[in-house]
Structures are given as C-alpha cells and as structure tokens.
Amino acid sequence: MSAHAAVAAPYENTGVPDGKLAIWLFLASEVMLFGTLFTSYIVLRTAAASWPVGWEVLNVPLATLNTFFLIASSVTIVMAHAKASARDKAGFYRFMGLTVLLSLAFLVVKGFEYGHKFHEGHFPSTSIFYAVYFTTTGLHGLHIIGGVAWNLGLMWWAGRDGWDDRLFLGRVEYAGLYWHFVDIVWIFLFPALYLL
C-alpha cells in the first residue's frame, strides 16, 4: 500500500507506520459518523412525546447473545494478530476463521431479528423509534459486512504469497483495529437501543 517501507525510511517521519496512522485517522472519522447517529438518537428521544421501552419492543436476550458473538470475535481477532506476529500460521488461520464465523453468526441473528420485525409489521416508517433502530443497526451491520470481507481477503491473501509480505502483519493489525472499533460501536448501541 504505502510507497516506502515504514522502517528504513530516509524521510522525516513520526515513527508511526503510514498504515497505522491512516487507519486511526479513518477511525476518527468513523467516530464522528457514529457520534452523529448517537446525537440524533439522543435529540430525537428527548424531543419525542413517548419512547418505547427496549424490553417490551425488542428481543433483549437475543441481542445479548449477539453482543457475546461480537465480543468473542474481538478476542479472536486480537489472538489472530498475536499468532501472526508469533509467525504461527495455523494459529492465525484458526483464530481469523473463528472471527469470520462469529461475525457471520452476528449477521444471521441480526437478519432473524429484522425478519421477525418485518413479519410483525414494524418497518422503519412505523415510528421514530423503529426508524432510529433500523438506521443505526443497519449502518452498523454494513460496517460488519465490510469487516468480514476485509478479514476474508486477509485469509485468502495469507494463503497465496501474503504471509511473508512485509506489509502483512500491519494489515492484520489494522483489520483488528477496525474490528474493535465496530465492536465498540455495538457496545454503545446495545444499551442505547435495547436497555435504556
């Protein structure tokens, strides 16, 4: 990706490799994106006449299970990075595979939840609560799909000649950083929509 090796750079630089700086900047912009969604949620909630209680309207036990999936996938992706830095290829495949499986499980549960709501006749246009619910979880779901695609790409690339590429380790770490951010968004989204 970057035009020069991070380590032997003759250039005046900050010691932080390009990729890491880029991913943290990207996460900064994502913080502003999801921050806006949370501001809109809080503003719409304070201005609304009445706001349904998460327990009655949404399936909280299922969402708790979903949270477990996402937290587990966070653990497995950081383990995958640890294994990759320890040059243990089998370990890397095991944990990265687990991460992809857990995120797919999250998507399946989310799909089931959406289907159940559509079946009951609740659509984004039904009320402001459902509008906020579908939009925020939908955008978060899109970010998860992006993450899954990135992780699968990494595994495929590792299989070909990526494992010995000098940028491989960095990219695994950046995939991890992005994934932890998506997990943090869910950590705030889960209580905001379901519990409070």
């Binding site: 003759p10 005046e12 990207f26």
Partner: protein, 577 residues
C-alpha cells in the same frame, strides 16, 4: 523511487488511471475548472431572470426544454434547480477540489520533497469517486424529477417533499467519501514523507494550510454523511427523522410520514459540516497567497509562526461556530448568545492572517507579476468579505439581514473575490512548474483587471439590495413590493455577470495555448526558495532525482550573505561571492 518498476506504463495507466500525484492533480485541475464554468453559466441564467423577470432568454431561450423554461422564460422550478445546483457545484465540485484536490495533490508532495503521496492508489480512488459524484450530480438535471431544488443547504421538510433530492444525496455521499480518503492521504503524507531536515516548522505555509484543511475535511464531513443517510431514509423509506407530526402538504395530511422528527436536527448537522467547509474554501487560497506574496516581495513573509498558529486556531474554532447560520431558525435564544461569542472570537484569527499578509509587503521589493496582482487583490477583497461578516455574526443585526442579499454579497466576496482570485493566482504561479512553459503576461493582466472590475460590479450592489430587505432565492424579486426599489441594481449585477463571463475567455485561451506553445522556462522562473521549484518542471515520476536535504526555513529571500536574492531550502549553505 517508486517501489514497483515494471513495463513502460500504457497510455491509460499514465494519463487516465494514473497513480502519479501530478497527473491526478492536473485531472482535478481541469475537472474543477470545467465544473466552475458550468456553475457560473447556471448563474448567468439566474441573473437574467433576476434582472428581467418574465422576459424570455435571448438566443438560448428556445434551446431549453418546454417544461423547464416555457417560451424561453425560466420557470420557478427550473430557477430553484439552478440555484441549488449552482451552490452545490461551486462549493463541492469547484472551489474545494481546485484548492485541495488540484493544488494540494500537485504541489504538496513537491514542497515537502516527497516522491508521491503516501497512498498513491487511494489518491487515484479519490479522483475516481469525485468524478462520478460530479457527473451524477449533473445528471440529476435530466432525471424525471429534475435536479435538487431546495437550495444547496437542502433544508427538510422541503428537501424531503421536493423531487430531485435523492440523486443529490447519493452524489454527496460519493463526494464525501472522496474527500475523506483525500484528507487521510494528505495527513499521512505531510507527517511521514517529509524530506530529511524538513521539520514541521520548516514546512511552507501552503503545506500547513493543506494540513489544517485535511483535518477539517476528515472530522467535519462524516456528520453530513450521517445526516444525508438519515435524509435518504426519510425520502426513500418514509422514516421521519426530520418530519414533525401532523404535516399537511398540499391540503392533505401527509400520512406517509408518521412524524416525531425534528427539522432543526438537519440544520445543526448540515452547518456542523458547512462551516468548517467554508474554512476549507478559504485556507488553501490563503496558503497560496502567502507563497506568492513572499516570492514576489523577495523577503520572508511576516510572522510565519503567527500565520500557522492563526490557521490552527481558525481550524479549531470553525467547529464551534456553526449555529450563527441558525440565529432566527427557532434555535434556543440562550444558545445564540454562545454562538455569538464564538463567532466574534473566530474573527480574530482571520484578522491576524490578513494583518500578517499585508505587513509582509512592508520592507519588500514588490514585483507586480500576474500572480502577484491576483494575490494583492485577494487582500482588500477578502477584507470586505470579512468585514461584512460582522453584522451577520451579530445576533441582533442578523435578525434583519439573515437570508437577504446582504448574506449573498458577504459570502461571494469571501469565496469569489477571495478564494477564486487566489486560486487564479496559484494557476498563473505554478503553471510553469506544471507544463515547463509560462502563461502569457498581457493576457493575464487583461484577465485580472477585467475579472476584478466585473466581480465587484456583481457583488457590491448586493449589499444595497440586502439592506433594503430583499430575501435571497427569489424567483421573481419584483413580486415583493419592498424589492422594487432595488431592481435597477439587479440589472447592474446581471450586466457585470455577463462581462465577467467575457473576461474568462482570455484565461481559457491562455491556459490551453500556453500549455503547448507558451514561452518555455527553466525549472525556477520565479526564483523561488521552496522545494517545489528545485526539481525539473514538469517533474518526472518520483519528482526528485536525488532526495533533497533541507537546511532552512521556506522563505529565505534576500539573505544577507548570499549572492542572489533567493536561497533555496536545500542549498547546503549561503555562497558569498
């Protein structure tokens, strides 16, 4: 320098899908100039309708479609489309890509001695998201609903009810993603790819302005992207983020929106972006002016550190002033006092920047080359723009002046006679670096004096019309009685607008003629000290044959113990003889 030496790149790889920051810079340059021309021709149609309401357009009246302009007379719907698209094209497709995309992409790596951007492929992706976004925006004119017609600010509920906004929102998402990737690229390049010896405090002011602008783009655009997604959901899936209860549209209850939303939420999120956006419009041109003034006064600019600190302070404060656009929109009045104070605070760094640039002239030997003429004209013109911002920033006087032509005069003085003139200066200044040839000087001076006079002719009357209380975005100003007295001023503005279009012909001809048959120049015609003039022009792939080492600050002109009056940054030491 480049890591992937492979077979000689094909034509498309070299010019169309190129990863070289110089080619991408030129692609941005030509595309944004075309968009500026398009946006300007739209405003000519509007100006005709404002000066002579109801009279058919001469010559091209018959060419317009019957629905848009029945009998050659522009209809109100088409007028609103022109208004909304003029604003959007000029801001998002014209000035920002020119200032950040073209000049930033081309000149920044050269000025810090880098071979290319940190992520060349992502840089190419930025352009190839910007161009489809721009074409999608333009194509909305041909779609059945017509283009967006709720102003470039697209306030709901009007923008949710009106046709044409969906394509506008999709194009905006593309443009925002392009700007986001661009800003990441700029920040990483500025921090990690500086030539050895080029510490942060030896970077030219232009690089600092691009650096601060990149942070503004990075952190201000995502809120608009989220707000655009919410508005897209309102339009397509009938959610009601911005639609309150009990809307009665066209006599019936608008039942497709269940209500519960807040229209003011969009205004907060939009202006949270739009105010840093206007500082994105002004910071790169100020950086260009600092370069040109220092070069043409043959002495270091006044207060390098003050300028950089003022730019940083301007960037920081620009996130805290957005609601001075909403004083009369129903925002809480206590909050208005807060934004009044922050707006007054942000005027200080603008004054500081202008003071430093003007004091840079003191003690110099001013050469009145064409770029210098434009840069000098920037100072008083931006002064008028800044000063007229005072009554608008003050809550009380804004009650009367909000959304009148006074506002239009204010921001056009800042953007047109401010940014655009500085960007013209940059074009004349760096043209020899881009093409190895110089733009013709006499044509340049004709273009300068004509453009300056015509621009003032358009925008000065707007202050008078605004003080008379004429609202903006009026299809036919004579429909309101209190506007009738200002009608002759509209005629003056319209005539000046057509004159301004005439004066753009010299620069267009000059630009394309000099590209191939201009007077050839050496690699440093202006005798400049910054690194971009120490490499051949046009620079080859990888820019510098030998990696330059930097020994001193950017503006060492008239150094006491150096033989000629400019000492390049990468020169080992001053040579006395």
């Amino acid at each position: 320098m480049s890591e992937h030496a492979h077979a000689e790149p094909s034509f498309t790889e070299r010019y169309v899908f190129s990863v070289d920051h110089k080619v991408i810079g030129l692609q941005y340059l030509v595309t944004s100039f075309v968009f500026l021309l398009l946006g300007f021709s739209m405003v000519l149609l509007m100006r005709w309708q404002l000066a002579f309401p109801g009279q058919p357009l001469p010559l091209i009246g018959r060419l317009l479609s019957a629905s848009a302009a029945p009998g050659g007379v522009i209809g109100p719907e088409f007028y609103n489309q022109l208004g909304a698209m003029h604003g959007t094209i000029m801001v998002f497709l014209g000035i920002v890509p020119l200032g950040v995309g073209a000049f930033g992409n081309y000149v920044l790596p050269l000025q810090i001695g880098a071979p290319d951007m940190a992520f060349p492929r992502m840089n190419m992706m930025s352009y190839w998201l910007y161009l489809p976004g721009g074409l999608l925006m333009l194509s909305s004119f041909l779609l059945p609903g017509g283009a967006a017609q709720s102003g470039w600010t697209s306030y709901p509920p009007l923008s949710v009810i009106n046709p044409g906004q969906t394509v506008w929102l999709l194009a905006m998402v593309l443009l925002i993603t392009s700007s986001l990737l661009g800003s990441i690229n700029f920040i990483v390049t500025t921090l990690n790819l500086r030539a050895p010896g080029m510490t942060l405090w030896r970077m030219p002011v232009f690089v600092w302005s691009q650096f601060v602008t990149a942070f503004l783009l990075l952190l201000a655009f995502p809120p608009l992207e989220a707000a655009a997604v919410l508005q897209l959901m309102d339009r397509v899936f009938h959610t009601s983020f911005y639609m309150p209860e009990g809307l009665i549209v066209g006599g019936q209850l608008a039942s497709q929106w269940s209500g519960g939303g807040q229209s003011l939420l969009w205004q907060h999120l939009f202006w949270f972006l739009a105010h840093p956006e206007v500082y994105v419009l002004i910071l790169p041109p100020m950086g260009i002016c600092a370069e040109i003034i220092s070069n043409n006064t043959r002495k270091p600019i006044f207060g390098y550190k003050e300028i950089v600190y003022a730019m940083m302070f301007l960037g920081t404060m620009s996130f805290v002033v957005w609601a001075h656009h909403m004083f009369v929109s129903g925002m809480s009045t206590t909050l208005s006092n807060f934004f009044l104070v922050t707006t007054m605070i942000i005027s200080v760094p603008s004054v500081a920047l202008l003071t430093c640039l003007i004091l840079s002239l003191k003690g110099g030997a001013i050469r009145f080359t064409t770029p210098m003429l434009f840069a000098l004209a920037f100072l008083p013109m931006f002064g008028i723009g800044g000063l007229t911002g005072l009554p608008l920033g003050l809550t009380v006087t804004d009650i009367y002046l909000h959304d009148t032509y006074y506002v239009i005069g204010h921001f056009h003085y800042v953007v047109v006679t401010g940014s655009l003139i500085a960007l013209f200066a940059g074009t004349y200044f760096w043209f020899p670096k881009w093409f190895g040839r110089r733009m013709d000087d006499t044509l340049g001076k004709i273009h300068f004096w004509g453009t300056l006079a015509a621009m003032n002719g358009i925008f000065l009357p707007m202050f008078a019309i605004g003080l008379q209380g004429q609202s903006r975005r009026l299809y036919d100003p004579t429909a309101h009685l209190h506007n009738l007295i200002g009608q002759p001023l509209h005629v003056v503005s319209t005539v000046s607008a057509f004159v301004l279009m005439l004066f753009q012909i010299p620069v267009i001809y000059n630009f394309f003629y000099s590209m191939f048959r201009g007077e050839p120049t050496d690699s440093n015609p202006w005798k400049a000290t910054t690194l971009d003039w120490q490499c051949p022009s046009p620079p080859p792939h990888g820019n510098f044959a030998k990696l330059p080492r930097v020994y001193r600050g950017p503006y060492e002109y008239s150094h006491p113990d150096h033989r000629d009056d400019w000492l390049p940054q990468d020169a080992e030491k001053a040579v006395a003889s």
